[in-house]
């Protein structure tokens, strides 16, 4: 067993055209999916990231350069994440496949937490 990070990528304009009823339906789908994971003991954590691009730090020639992260029109951002328990990538992928984000958002990036050298 290992842990996997599901990074939910989205565009700022996602959902903005949805009607109130549609939005409620979408929320109910996400929450149902999440509850499903939780009931099976697979959900470790989940957070929404703040609505800004954050900051990017890079070492420049003589100083650290800081720029605003990609929170501009039509640029994909990571909206939030789910941290889940899974046997392996196939297992994590099968859980990610049923996430409503694939219908309503943009893409899901699945990354394993490295447990290579755990004792």
């Amino acid at each position: 067993m290992g842990q996997f990070l599901l990074l939910l990528h989205e565009l700022p304009d996602d959902f903005t055209e949805a009607s109130p009823s549609e939005m409620q339906g979408i929320i109910q789908e996400y929450v149902a999916w999440r509850n499903g994971l939780d009931q099976r003991g697979k959900l470790v954590g989940s957070n929404k990231l703040a609505d800004d691009g954050g900051r990017i730090l890079m070492k420049g020639a003589d100083a650290i350069r800081v720029t605003d992260g990609p929170y501009a029109e039509a640029k994909e951002v990571i909206g939030g994440y789910f941290l889940i328990e899974a046997a392996d990538y196939d297992d994590a992928e099968s859980m990610a496949r049923t996430c409503p984000h694939l219908t309503y958002g943009h893409r899901i990036e699945v990354r394993a937490i490295d447990t290579a050298y755990e004792p």
Binding site: T16, E17, S19, Q24, I27, V31, D38, G45, N47, G80
Partner: protein, 452 residues
Amino acid sequence: MSAIDTAKTDIRAMVDHLFRARAGQMVATLTRILGFEHIDLAEDVVQEALLTALRRWPHHGVPENPAAWLVQVARNRALDQLRRRANWRGKEDEIRRSLTVFAEKDPGTGPGDAAFGHEVRDDRLRMMFACCHPALSRESQVALTLKTVGGFGTREIARAFLSHPATIAQRLVRAKRRLRTLGVRLEIPGPDELPARLDAVLEVIYLLFNEGYSATEGEALVRHDLCHGAIHLAELVADSPVTDLPRVHALAALLLFQGARLAARIGDDGVPARLHEQDRTQWDRAMIVRGVRRLQRAAHGDVLTRYHLEAEIAASHCLAPSVEATGWRQILDCYDQLLHLHPSPVIALNRAVAVAEVHGPSQALDALEALVEDQALADYPLLWSTRADLLARLGRSAEATADLERARALSASRPAQRFLDKRVAEVTEHPVRHGGFQDDADCDDADCDDAD
């Protein structure tokens, strides 16, 4: 990383239509606080609040009190906008106070207005009067009502009216601009204007219901929502002190009775079921009971309106233990009065159906002759299918088939066509048989009325 609080993820905290109902309520109250000229801002604020929920709740769970959460967020956004913009004409403090009060009243988790308090209900009533302003076309009144008070989206409205979202969007923009130009404010009309303005509101609600009722396939879900939305609005108006009038209760009763039968209107084969074919166990008994209570409240005063009579007719159907036990004499009596009050070809057609049940198909055919000659309903499929049924009952199956084919040629919707195909087959197989009538005949078609 936040700890998962499983208590917060309970979907049951989100009742049916929570977002739609709250959107309508919040837009009405915010528009009243900010002023009608800022209605777009009010709508944006509400939309943003819902979007925030959409982005947040999947990760952090549904709050224990979702409605209160939405109101808080909307309030904060509105305060934000208050700070950023300059055109408040000295009313900033007053607005800020009103916004604080708005958020402090705990809306609770109940879907009904009772949980939200009388003020919000009154805001929605004020919004209805604004949306049904006489300066707007009926189409615009309906669209604006659905969007602002009803909490429907532009795409949903377009689907319901078989139109394009862009058309609806434009219609809404123009309607709002018109009202802004007129300096419309959110208020209950004064006593002189009230009766006429209320009548407009009732007509719009009636129209909304009919739109939902007359559809049978495809966008069935939206259509059912229209019916329930119309019922909700009718009850909103009926329960507001200023508009607590018998004819409003009568309209609410009528819609409840019709709405109670919605589930049974389509048969298992996807074809509209006629009255005698409907599975009455599928009728919503709770709605019928509510209808009866409303009818009792309508039985006051000395003004008999079309809504009273139509409600009586609908009640007769709903309360009959079986189709055979239906009080057709009573119904015919109501139609006689209704025709006198509101002479219309569609009502005359519906009356003919009742005549057939009380006096037999021959007399009903006589009653239809005048309609047929009049030409007013020449393109109305139900005229021909009704006459076909009468002819079939008299064994005149060749003529009946001809009329059914005429009806079919005039029918645009697939369910109606399938229904008529089925009827043709029946008439051909069983030349003399009790036809019975489509449930549609009971519901006065408001579109046809406009042709008067």
